[in-house]
Symmetry: C2
Subunit: 448 residues, 2 copies
């Protein structure tokens, strides 16, 4: 067997592809991973900023992210808890407040509506089957409307509506007007509901990795060694009755089966021969990546902690939508997320304007000490050559008509990526799980 | 100048690209057209069926399609009127009726609602500016909801709602639940409103071309001769301060500027270096092609005419959504359109099942004489390698955030395709107009 052929080819060296390849390899089959970029990691990315290593992509590990925690343990990567003591900043409808504990400062009617909102979403999402959200009893109705339509119809206070609009923006970098209510419910379900999705302790923001989350990808890639080929963008995948031929800028590769482990949109930029089934081709045209720029601002000390802040912000009135913090023995950083339409704006404005705007915002939230960072870096994921954004999202009418094509193999082509996971879609946990599932598919097919 | 460089490169030999190239050439600049397929025409396509030449793609010329009529005249292609005498078949909510003249057979309340619907759409669309639909006074509200939400909220009879749902399906092969109300209004406006879009005489179905509409593309390509290069899929477009390099399967081509004359979705499958601006990249992820299969069934005689039918059908209860007819000295044909979800279903079912289902439907509409065709052909546009569907459509939240990127040049890259036209977007008339507009841009830039 030459180095340009294997039992299985994996396209994409993000966490989905790397975990799939590891699993295929451990099952005894040969595997080659083809990565377009000159680095592994996909939506995980390392950068040194202000003398410390930062994650410019995914960073948090949730309390229930069991596969990710196991992978970290196997690679010898330790976690540490997300800091959460003090006041959190919430800005809604132009009103800036800071609150401790779980209850935001809002008018009583707004708070009552938040409780009602959560109960309603919990109830609706509980009727959405994980393996087939398109078959929910009210799927047709929910998929024919935007989340914004649902909000306008079902919430009656301005603060309740403003809060609800923060949720898709903060979690998936997309506006309520852009997504289907059915897709949104399924995404909530996949993340175990609103309360869990927003929680720090015992929630999805529970912990981080010492040395950075990008090490998950790097460590897994190390296990695979020379089986990972960098700088090999896949242009065409040809399949026939016996196998696949994968055409890249670094030559052709052959295998029995291929796992395409990149999001549905980027996957659609590959040419397939024969043409993909209409539903799969149409899916690729309809799963758009949320728009996000992640910003890391490094300071000499975590001054916000001393001032009684958690370092967390959620706002609907700033170029930044969400702020989190990170501090270790190496130093301290505020992490800001520019999302949705603001990401388009700030992508066009360029890095200098962005830096000034973000630091001004941090000063507004945490005081003048924020004006003097010792390091700054950001990553505009909308312009990331091979990723094109944050995570795949669906507008109305997509889940019910094209959703079934997310995981359905097309002949010898299998699909991974966090978007295809029934649990934790959009998270690294979902990416790893999708890789395991796709690897199982090809190993089973091989043994048949 | 070698044959692999020119002042201007045009990507795509559909009507937009060919017209752009003709205009650039006539302005005195050199031009090369790079076409991925082994034929010109894009969404126009010739096929011989049952002894006559058929259009498997675009076919009709509207009464107000002035650029298309001029192009045909210059190429010596004649028109003939669409036949429209007799009864038209309308099937709504399981009820099959046949009516003569302009007024469908419907309950009185339904008819009143249709009149109200048309008045309301006419009024709403009149507030949508052609060159910037995203700046309509109610753009944010209209773009945050699906057309289906609008229908459910504003129409109160079952037949009115069923009729309204036929409109996006028949005109753009997309469901009301999939598109933004703002996009829909702009599409209506671009086609001069509902009445004009549905009309035969003096409407968009006014006439056809003797010998077929595909001749428009073939004739224009002939004017360009060897400047049109077939079988040259463009993989990458690299630009710098002085020019562009276009990487294809047939080698590299160089020019000062490039016109990408394919729809936004297919255009996003090309890699751009440097990366496109976030808004343009995001647009490419969010303009999905409607799903359509066009079927041509040839008969010895136009038996439906003798039986008193126009040959036209609109139904919400059949695998076929729309039927039209065509008869000349060469023979007669019924033309059936399978649209939206039914196109996905029938694409998966395969050609034999499709043929049986469509002919059974034609028998249901026009009697047993329809059971004995002398020729059959169909074209599954969802699986057309380089086109991926019918015409670009937008879900909610796209027009207001990404719409401005439709026509905005990105450095030395200019954009054509019917989707980019402010008038007759989705029609060949729009394609030609977009080509003229893009050609003007590059010629002006060249002369600066």
């Amino acid at each position: 067997m030459s180095e340009t052929s294997a039992d299985v080819i994996v396209v994409g060296a993000g966490c989905a592809g790397l975990k799939a390849a590891q699993e295929v390899h451990e099952s005894g089959l040969s595997v080659i991973v083809l990565e377009a970029d000159d680095r592994v990691g996909g939506r995980l990315k390392r950068r040194e900023v202000g003398g410390r290593v930062a994650d410019l992509g995914g960073q948090w590990v949730g309390s229930r992210h069991t596969v990710l925690r196991d992978q970290a343990k196997a690679l010898g990567i330790e976690t540490y808890q997300q800091y959460a003591s003090g006041k959190t900043v919430l800005e809604l409808l132009g009103k800036l407040t800071a609150f401790s504990g779980d209850t935001p400062k809002m008018p009583l009617l707004g708070l009552l509506e938040l409780a009602r909102l959560q109960a309603r979403w919990d109830k609706d999402m509980s009727t959405v089957p994980a393996d087939a959200p398109w078959s929910a009893p009210r799927a047709a109705e929910w998929d024919a409307q935007t989340l914004e339509t649902w909000i306008a119809r079902n919430l009656h206070t301005a603060s309740g509506r403003a809060f609800a609009r923060l949720v898709p923006r903060g979690a998936w970098a997309v506006e309520a007007s852009q997504v289907s209510y059915l897709w949104f419910l399924d995404a909530l379900r996949s993340g175990e509901g609103l309360a869990h999705l927003m929680a720090v302790k015992d929630g999805i923001l529970d912990a981080k990795f010492k040395g950075g989350m990008h090490q998950i990808a790097e460590g897994t890639a190390r296990l695979l060694g020379e089986r990972v080929v960098l700088g090999a963008p896949v242009r065409t995948i040809v399949q026939d009755e016996v196998g696949v031929r994968v055409v890249t800028d670094k030559g052709d590769f052959a295998a029995r089966r291929v796992i395409v482990a990149i999001p549905p949109g980027p996957a659609a930029r590959i040419q397939y021969a024969p043409h993909l089934p209409a539903a799969r081709d149409g899916l690729g045209q309809r799963v758009a990546m949320g728009a996000v720029i992640k910003v890391v601002v490094v300071y000499a000390t975590p001054f916000w902690r001393a001032a009684g802040f958690t370092g967390q912000v959620a706002t609907d009135n700033d170029v930044v939508g969400i702020v989190m913090e990170d501090a270790t023995d190496d130093g301290a950083a505020l992490l800001a997320f520019i999302e949705g339409p603001r990401a388009l704006e700030m992508s066009a404005a360029g890095p200098e304007v962005r830096r000034d705007r973000v630091i001004a915002s941090l000063v507004r939230f945490f005081g003048p000490a924020a004006a003097n960072p010792i390091g700054y870096a950001d990553n505009d994921w909308t312009r990331e050559t091979w990723t094109h954004g944050y995570v795949g999202t669906m507008g109305p009418g997509v889940m019910t008509r094209y959703g079934h094509a997310l995981r359905e193999p097309c002949g010898r082509i299998h699909w991974a990526s966090t978007e295809t996971s029934t649990e934790w879609a959009g998270y690294i946990e979902g990416a790893l799980r999708s890789g395991l599932r796709a690897a199982k598919e090809v190993v089973q097919a091989h043994n048949r």
